[in-house]
């Protein structure tokens, strides 16, 4: 079994940051809106 890693196109901090803003922030905002309603 060789250690064959594809280094091109690795996920970096920018990807994680974009995902965070796409996922956690909308849920928090919507929970706030729905609960406040």
């Amino acid at each position: 079994m060789n250690q064959e890693v594809v280094e091109a196109g690795r996920v970096n901090k920018a990807d994680h940051l974009i995902l965070f803003f796409l996922s956690c922030i909308p849920l928090l905002v919507s929970l706030f809106v729905v609960c406040a309603d």
């Binding site: 079994m1 060789n2 064959e4 196109g9 690795r10 965070f20 909308p26 729905v34």
Partner: protein, 456 residues
């Protein structure tokens, strides 16, 4: 005879990792195009009412599928199947747990999908083709044929069947799904939907729990397909976008249809809303695509425990037990049981594997050692006891918070049920399991030679 790498658990070589971003988006979208995904929104629609249902369906699904994106990195980076990529966290034998969970969830899923296919195809064919088209044993033909036999033979033919299928089925079925949504929104039912008074029977936490558990149910399957990804980033975004877009559209459509008709079962509301023919196409094509995707992952899981079994024989072994559920399916009960099973057994387990890869190993796995029975991932007789201690902590918390969902009084705790309405069950149990695992490893790492070795 030549052994095809994709028919074994060996890592996929970089030259064979050819699935690009679009292929992966279509693959994961195809996986999520199934009638049961409609039921996610239906499950909480009447409790929340229209707009909260729409808002939570969008945001909770985005949140839940983000976890899938993070988890998709291991398989894609090293070309490793999910059940192999679990070995660094749980040990060579500890990873069997994940394989068993996958295999048993698979029986339920494929049984559920086949059962829905049978019911929906019988309903739709009678409405659109007339009673005369009905024949003795038609349910069996539709359920066993569409849900079980066709996917089984396709997977036997080529493991990549789901990639080929999804390029055809997803554009067609995705288009139909959007059409269904617009048709319902432009129908006379919409006035009743807008004025629907929420029953309050279930709350926001229940809705978030349903979306999260549905996404967690995909965790065991991620590595089996993302190992074919041409890059880690393609797998990361392909998984997220493919699963989330369909998850959101289907949850909203299912939710609105339930508010319009009062029915949760898509096979029933599709006929009431005169969507029989389109729903029949979605059911049959969607089931074949999804069942093929699920089956291949199940085959890999089985072969991780019994590596000497023949690939085609294993496919039959993994597919055929689902027959039990085809004839014993109280649909909503089966859906509920699968969700419970996933939240309790899979949530904390995969949270630990993600924490191990991201926080402790910093994305570095020794591929060769993943296949060494007596190598560095052996830990204690094949099990990483710290991972299982953390798993136990997550499961206990889940039982405390969500045990009441089972309906058994022995698993119902008043304080836990009250806390559930604020924090749900699966997310906190995943966070606790991951946190306990990282803490245990940090504390004991320098006292245990086996742990030190595994992180070298």
């Amino acid at each position: 005879m030549q052994t095809v790498t994709e028919n074994t658990l060996a890592p996929i070589s970089p030259s064979d990792r050819d699935a690009g971003f679009i292929s992966l988006v279509l693959l994961w979208a195809g996986g999520n195009i199934l009638l049961a995904t409609f039921m996610v929104g239906s499950y909480y629609a009447e409790g929340l009412g229209l707009w909260p249902m729409v808002l939570i369906s969008i945001t909770a699904n985005l949140f839940a599928y983000a976890v899938c994106a993070v988890s998709s990195q291991r398989g894609a980076r090293y070309g490793l199947d999910e059940v192999v990529a679990l070995r660094p966290a749980f040990g060579m034998k500890g990873a069997y747990y994940g394989a068993f969970v996958l295999i048993f969830i698979n029986f339920g899923w494929i049984g559920l999908l086949s059962s829905m296919t049978g019911t929906a195809a019988v309903n739709a064919s009678e409405v659109f083709l007339g009673e005369s088209f009905s024949f003795s044993g038609n349910y069996t033909v539709y359920a066993v044929g569409g849900g079980l036999l066709i996917p089984m033979f396709l997977v036997m033919l080529t493991p990549k069947a789901s990639f080929y299928l999804s390029t055809v089925t997803v554009p067609v079925l995705g288009g139909f799904s959007i059409y269904i949504l617009f048709k319902i929104m432009n129908s006379e039912h919409m006035a009743a939907v807008s004025n629907f008074k929420p029953t309050g029977a279930v709350g926001i936490a229940f809705a978030v729990e349903t979306c999260v558990v549905w996404a967690v149910a995909w965790q065991p399957y991620l590595g089996s397909w993302n190992k074919f990804a041409s890059s880690e980033r393609n797998a990361y975004w392909g998984t997220f976008i493919g699963l989330a877009v369909i998850g959101i559209i289907f949850a909203i459509t299912g939710g609105i249809a339930t508010l319009a008709t009062g029915e949760i079962d898509p096979a029933v509301w599709a006929v009431k809303l005169e969507l029989g023919l389109i729903s029949m196409i979605i059911i049959i094509l969607g089931t074949i695509t999804t069942s093929s995707l699920l089956l291949y992952s199940g085959v890999m899981a089985f072969m991780s425990i019994f590596p000497k079994f023949n690939y085609k024989l294993t496919t039959a072994i993994v597919a055929l037990p689902s027959l039990v559920f085809i004839y014993d399916a109280e649909l909503q009960n089966l859906f509920g049981i699968i969700l419970l099973f996933v939240g309790l057994l899979a949530g904390p387990y995969w949270a630990i594997s993600i924490a191990d890869y991201v926080f402790l190993r910093k994305g570095i796995i020794n591929v060769k050692e993943c296949y060494e029975e007596h190598g560095i991932y052996r830990f204690y007789n094949g099990f990483n006891v710290y991972a299982f201690a953390a798993q136990l902590s997550g499961m206990l918390l889940w039982l405390f918070l969500g045990g009441w969902l089972s309906g058994y009084s022995i698993l119902s705790f008043g304080w836990g049920e009250s806390a559930f309405s604020y924090i749900s069950a699966t997310v906190p149990s995943m966070l606790v399991a991951a946190g306990v695992y990282v803490t245990l490893v940090k504390v004991f790492q320098h006292r245990s030679e086996r742990l030190v070795k595994s992180y070298e």
